[in-house]
Symmetry: C2
Subunit: 388 residues, 2 copies
C-alpha cells in the first residue's frame, strides 16, 4: 500500500503507526505534475512512503535504475501529447497528479507472496506506457512490469554481455519503433529488398539501419548535407550498417533517381518501405523511390512540415502513406511487445546491436524534480538519462 | 478478320477478292495515334474493313453508339498516362498504332457461331481499358465486351427506363470510381456513418453524393466558394443528395470544426472515409475531419498540389492515405466490374441515379479524327460525347 508522507499523512492509520514495520518504510521520490505547462513550471517532487512489509500478494516493489527523458515525455507534461497518464491522488498528493516518464529500468527489491513472474534482483521494464517512471521507487502489481535479464542472468545464460542500464531504460521506444516498422507491415525479402528512410542520423534511424542489416534488409539513409558528410556516411555505413547514405539534395534530385534504381537492381529486390520522420519535401523524396504498392510509414515530423506525397504516387503507383505510433500498436497487442523486447535484448546481449548513448545524470541528494527539469533543458543537446 | 483498306491492301488475299462476300465489307473509321503528342497533332483517321461474313466463331462485330473524351484519354494520347494501349499494325496501319479512347457503348451487329454471351442487338461496354473506343465499328472476341441491357430489354424487364447512350458510354469510369471508393475499402454503417469529399461539384463528386444517399451514407461535399454558392449548395443537396455542403474556406477553418463534429454526432456515426481529388491544403482539410483510423482515398489532383497530410493525423489518429485508380483495381478483379456495372445500371434504369450530362457531338460525314480533336479542345467547357 502507498503511505503518503506529505499531503496525505491522514492516510497513515493508527494500526500502521503501532506496527513494528513502521520503521521499514521506503521513501519514494517522484516527479509529478498536476497541471500541464513547461516542465520547469509544473514538475514537482512528491515523496511518499511504500510500506514494503505490507504489500499485496500480487504486488512488487521496485527500485529505479534509470529513466530517460523522451520528447514524448516532455510533450506529455506540456499537455500536447495525445497519450496521457491518469491524474489521481493515490500517492497522497493534495491535487490529482501523475508521475512523469514512460520508459525506465527497474530492479525488483520485494515481491508479494503470490508473485510468479519475478524474484528479488530481477530487472524489469514497464509493460505499458504511462507508468510514471520518473521516481526512485515504485509499488505495483506484477503484471505492470515485464522482466528483462539482469547482467548476472545474461552471464549465466552464456551471453556475451549483460544489458547496460541505458540499454534497459531506453528499450521500449526507439529500438521497438525501428524493429516494428521494419517487420510488422511489409514483407521484406532478406538479401533482396530495401527500405529507405530520412532522418538516417536520428536515434531511430540508426537502430533501423542496424536492425535492417541484422535482418538482411538493404537500406538507404537520407541525411542532411553538412561539412563532415563523408565522416557521417562512413559511420552510418560501417558502424550502423546502412547500405547507402545519401543527402537530402540527392533525395530530392530527379537526376539521382537512376543511381538509386541501379543499386536496387543489383540486389534483384525492390524498395518496399519508406520510413519518414521529417515530412515536407523529404517525405515526397523518399516516397518517390518506393516500388509500386510500396508503403511509407511516418513516425515523426522533424521539419514541422506536413507529410507530402505527389498525387501520382497514390493513384498510379498505389503507394500508401500510414502512421506509426509504437504506443498505440503495443497497447492493442502486449504479446508483440514481449516478443519484440526479447529480440532486442538478444541482440544487445550478443553484442550485435549498439544502443544510442545518452547523457547520464546521476541523482544523489538533489531535488529529483530539479534533476529532471535540468535534463529536459539539456535534451536539445542529446538524449538524457537519469540514473538512480 | 481485319482487312485494312489503306496501307495494308497487301493483306487482302486473292481468295477474298474472289469471294461473293467481298462487297459486304464493313468500313470502320478509327481515330489512331502512332506517336504521342497533342491530340490535334497526332490523332489521325484510319479506315479499315471488317469482313463481317468471315469472323471467327468467338468474335463479335460492334457498331459504336457513343464514346466520350475523358481526361485520361487525352493524357494517354499525350503519353503522360501510365496505362497505355499496345501499338500494333493489326489494323493495317503502316506504323504501329493504337486506337484512342477507353470508354464507349456498342451495339452488337454480328456474332460468331460459338458466341454465347451476346445476341445481335445487344448493347455492350468494354470489359477492360485500352479497347480503343474512338472508332465507328470494331471486331473483337466476345470476352472483350460486357453486356448491358438495351432499352428494349430494360422495358421488358419492367424497368422504369432504359439506359441512354450517354449513361452507357460513360458507365465505366466516373460512376464506378464513386461506387467503388464508397464500398470497397471502409465499412460505412448506413444511417450513421459519413464520408467527406472535396471536388464535391465534380462528376465523380456528384456521383459519390448520389450513391452515398442511395446507400444511406451521409456526406459532406467541399466546394470552392463562388457568387452563386447558395444555388450550388441547393443543387448538390436536393438533386445530388449531399447531406452537407461546405466551402473550401470552411474546410480549412479550425472554427468550423465543431459544426462538423455536431453534424456527425447527431447521427451517432463517424467520418470514416475522405475522398480527395484536389490535393494541397484541401486534402489536409478533409483528412483532419476523419475519425481515428480513417482512410483518405486520392483519385485526382485538380489543384496540381501534392497530397498533404498533417503528421499528427498519421501518427496519433492512425489516418491512412491511399490512392484509388479504377483501372488498376478492376484489372485485377473483372468480377468486381461486372457486379459494379450491374449496380449502376440498376440505379439508372430505376431512375434513382442521374448521369452527368455530356456535350454531344454527332459524327456524320466529317473526318472522325477531326471530330475527336474538336471534342478534346472543347473538353475544358464540359465532358464531350461523340455519338455515331
Amino acid at each position: 500500500m502507498f503511505v503518503p508522507t506529505v499531503a496525505g499523512k491522514r492516510f497513515l492509520t493508527n494500526q500502521l503507526r503501532k506496527s513494528p514495520q513502521f520503521t521499514r518504510m521506503l521513501t519514494s521520490h517522484a516527479v509529478i505534475f498536476s497541471s500541464h505547462g513547461e516542465p520547469k513550471d509544473v514538475l514537482k517532487t512528491h515523496t511518499y512512503e511504500i510500506d514494503e512489509n505490507n504489500i499485496k500478494p500480487n504486488e512488487i516493489v521496485l527500485k529505479t535504475l534509470g529513466a530517460p527523458v523522451n520528447p514524448s515525455d516532455i510533450n506529455q507534461v506540456q499537455g500536447v501529447y495525445p497519450s496521457q497518464p491518469e491524474k489521481t491522488t493515490q500517492l497522497g498528493t493534495s491535487e490529482p497528479s501523475a508521475v512523469g516518464g514512460n520508459e525506465g529500468l527497474f530492479e525488483i527489491i520485494k515481491i508479494g507472496s503470490d508473485v510468479k513472474g519475478f524474484q528479488v534482483g530481477d530487472w524489469a521494464i514497464p509493460t505499458s506506457v504511462n507508468f510514471g517512471t520518473w521516481r526512485s521507487h515504485a509499488l505495483c502489481e506484477e503484471g505492470k512490469m515485464m522482466k528483462v535479464p539482469n547482467p548476472e542472468q545474461s552471464k549465466q545464460a552464456g551471453k556475451k554481455q549483460g544489458l547496460t542500464i541505458n540499454q534497459g531504460a531506453t528499450l521500449s521506444v526507439n529500438p521497438l519503433t525501428a524493429y516494428l516498422m521494419l517487420t510488422h507491415y511489409v514483407k521484406l525479402t532478406p538479401g533482396k529488398d530495401w527500405f529507405i528512410q530520412n532522418g538516417g542520423n536520428s536515434a531511430v534511424g540508426k537502430f533501423a539501419s542496424q536492425i535492417g542489416k541484422l535482418l538482411g534488409i538493404h537500406s538507404i539513409s537520407v541525411v542532411r548535407d553538412r561539412p563532415e558528410i563523408e565522416e557521417l556516411k562512413k559511420e552510418l555505413k560501417e558502424v550502423c550498417g546502412a547500405t547507402q547514405v545519401i543527402t537530402e539534395e540527392q533525395n530530392n534530385s530527379k537526376d539521382f533517381g537512376p543511381q538509386v534504381k541501379q543499386w536496387v537492381k543489383e540486389t534483384g529486390g525492390e524498395i518496399k518501405l519508406a520510413l519518414n520522420c521529417v515530412g515536407g519535401k523529404s517525405s515526397a523524396g523518399v516516397a518517390r523511390k518506393l516500388a509500386p504498392n510500396g508503403l511509407m510509414l511516418t513516425y515523426g515530423g522533424m521539419s514541422f512540415q506536413p507529410v507530402t506525397l505527389p498525387t501520382s504516387l497514390h493513384i498510379f503507383k498505389n503507394v500508401t502513406s500510414a502512421g506509426f505510433w509504437v504506443t498505440e500498436l503495443l497497447k492493442s497487442d502486449p504479446n508483440l511487445k514481449r516478443e519484440t523486447v526479447d529480440k532486442i535484448v538478444e541482440w544487445y546481449t550478443s553484442g550485435e546491436l549498439l544502443d544510442a548513448p545518452s547523457k547520464e545524470n546521476q541523482w544523489g541528494d538533489q531535488d529529483l524534480a530539479q534533476v529532471f527539469i535540468d535534463a529536459v533543458a539539456n535534451s536539445k543537446s542529446g538524449k538524457q538519462l537519469v540514473k538512480f
